[in-house]
């Protein structure tokens, strides 16, 4: 089981990819996330070859869409997860997936170190909470996210502290809307 992170500033690396097309930063992100995306896709039912190919696609999307990443609203892990999930729907279910309107207007968000660290720590705390769940409950969440439960089987009672994350994102959205007007 992978341990909670050693404090690497993933958001900072992704911002370097965004602002300076920094290949070394990309390589560091790739080494950490590509094997995780591959594992996620294989747990979701993809064979090794397809999972490898899709993980490459996911990492290329990370490079291409770096400007859509808002460190105040999501950690890099969460952002990578959403790209990998969409890739899975695309590759395994061959469905079209509607996504909410992007909130990517205006100037690039100034990387706010504190906000970005908070988002990353949120994800780490969530990981710890996940590890502490009773095995049965944890397995149910995993099955839902690995695509092993139908939507009518999904119960949203996760036992995870999601309220604080929601509140933080809500604040970030309010700030964003405020800048917009």
């Amino acid at each position: 089981m992978a341990k909670a992170e050693d404090g690497t500033d993933w958001a900072g690396l992704l911002i370097q990819v965004r602002d300076r097309q920094d290949r070394a930063a990309f390589a560091q992100l790739f080494r950490h996330f590509a094997p995780r995306v591959k594992a996620f896709l294989m747990k979701s039912g993809a064979g090794a070859a397809l999972a490898e190919e899709c993980a490459q696609d996911v990492m290329a999307t990370l490079w291409q869409k770096a400007h859509l990443f808002d460190p105040a609203r999501a950690s890099v892990s969460t952002w990578v997860y959403t790209i990998a999930r969409n890739k899975r729907i695309d590759a395994l279910r061959k469905d079209r997936r509607a996504e909410p309107e992007e909130l990517d207007w205006g100037p690039e968000p100034e990387p706010d170190q504190a906000e970005a660290m908070e988002a990353q720590q949120d994800t780490e705390r969530l990981g710890q909470a996940l590890a502490q769940l009773p095995e049965k409950q944890r397995a149910l969440i995993e099955r839902a996210f690995y695509g092993d439960l139908s939507h009518s089987e999904i119960a949203a009672e996760t036992g995870l502290p999601l309220g604080t994350i929601k509140s933080r994102i809500r604040l970030a959205l309010e700030k964003l809307r405020h800048h917009m007007t």
Binding site: A2, F40, E52, K65, I89, E102, F145
Partner: protein, 214 residues
């Protein structure tokens, strides 16, 4: 505009997990486009996925994977940020994508009583359609077999229990029998999705049902 009727936690989690039928995805994405509260709740469920990615036991990529990735991004254009949003039309972006434009691009079909609908192209496990209900008109009395989501885009409707304005979503299941009425004022336009055919209580609508796929 204050949205009072929101998505449920199970729907948001199923969307975050990528497990909804395409037609329901469309309704969720459209509602979230209008509702920052649900956008934030969805962000929290997405974060569960992020935590799983972080905790997962990794599986090594092939030998030359990093070199392949680096040469692939060489010269790969990075998308730039969008222009500031134009004054929005009636249809939020994900829905406009399905329609191929805003309201004037919708190809309505009359289904009687002044009501019009346009079925949207989605996967077959659930269906989505736009409904146009003239102000003051009742939608035929109906119950539901599966789950039905109705999102108001323009005007408002009310049933025996509540009122639904732009951005509000009604989540109905087999336990709900109701008679929604489009309120006076603006004609009501809704996005509706269901994973089962609706059943009408009158004889005639039941016969007409297979023809209209309502």
């Amino acid at each position: 505009m204050t949205i009072r009727h929101h998505l449920s936690d199970p729907l948001l989690m199923a969307y975050a997990a990528g497990q909804l039928p395409e037609a329901f995805n469309l309704v969720v994405a459209t509602h979230v486009s209008l509702c920052d509260e649900c956008r934030a709740r969805l962000g929290a469920f997405d974060a569960v996925g992020g935590a799983l990615i972080e905790e997962i036991e990794e599986i090594s990529m092939g030998e030359a994977a990093l070199e392949a990735a680096l040469s692939r991004i060489e010269g790969l254009p990075q998308a730039t940020r969008a222009e500031p949003l134009k004054p929005a039309g009636i249809l939020p972006a994900p829905l406009a994508d399905y329609v191929g434009g805003d309201l004037n691009a919708v190809r309505w079909r009359r289904i009687g009583g002044g009501v019009k609908q346009a079925i949207l192209p989605t996967g077959r496990d659930a269906s989505a359609r736009l409904l146009y209900i003239p102000a003051g008109t009742a939608v035929p009395d109906h119950g539901h077999r599966g789950m039905e989501l109705t999102l108001v885009l323009q005007g408002a409707f009310a049933d025996d229990n509540d009122r639904f304005n732009r951005g509000d979503i009604e989540i109905a299941d087999e336990n709900l029998e109701h008679t929604p009425v489009a309120l006076a004022g603006e004609d009501c336009i809704c996005l509706a999705a269901t994973d089962a055919p609706l059943r009408f209580r009158g004889m005639l609508p039941r016969l007409a049902q297979p023809l209209f796929r309502i």
